[in-house]
Amino acid sequence: MKIGVLVNEGPYTHEASDSAYNFTKAALEKGHEIYRVFFYHDGVNNATRLTEPPRDDRNIVNRWSELGKQHNLDLVVCIAAAQRRGVMDENEAKRQGKDAHNLAEGFRISGLGQLVEAGIQSDRLVTFGD
């Protein structure tokens, strides 16, 4: 079954990002296809590679990147939500005249149309958030 996942909450906030990750992992283990994981609102903060949690804590950003790499996941960050919160890739940083970029490996920045498409193309869309 094709499953889309929507993450609306940032990392280390309540538990939504952890739940979304554990759900995505379990779905893949059960042989389902994850059509896309879309990061929206504060969820875009799951995609900054500058996070550095204490050593004994989980690294939520790296965990997504690694899962994405393992399963070739489409991890999409909403561009408007990302720009508001200072999450950008190299191209976007250049376009906006910024001196740095911070999008983590395996994520890509795109528009809200990608969420709509995930809703249409997936058999289920599961929302995690605050």
Partner: protein, 99 residues
Amino acid sequence: MLHIVNKSPYERNALDSCLRIATNGSAVLLIEDGVYAAVKGGSFEGKVQAALPGLKIYALGPDLSARGMADRVLDGVNVVDYGGFVDLVAEHSNCQSWL
């Protein structure tokens, strides 16, 4: 229809709204702080038990354990793991998160 509730009933009225609107035969999955509704002795116990004949109520085991409540789950509430969460999503034609 699968309803997913992730907030404590003592914090927000998401579960109240969900129980009021969910139709007979639907399933409700309690995750994150939502699992506080599934515990024996809480003031929400009556509401959950009243809803049980018409609805199937599930609680996420890892989230119960994380809060030290795995052995205090209300009778009639089914405990599932993340795999069970995935199965519930697959079994129901759609799902609604009550954020």
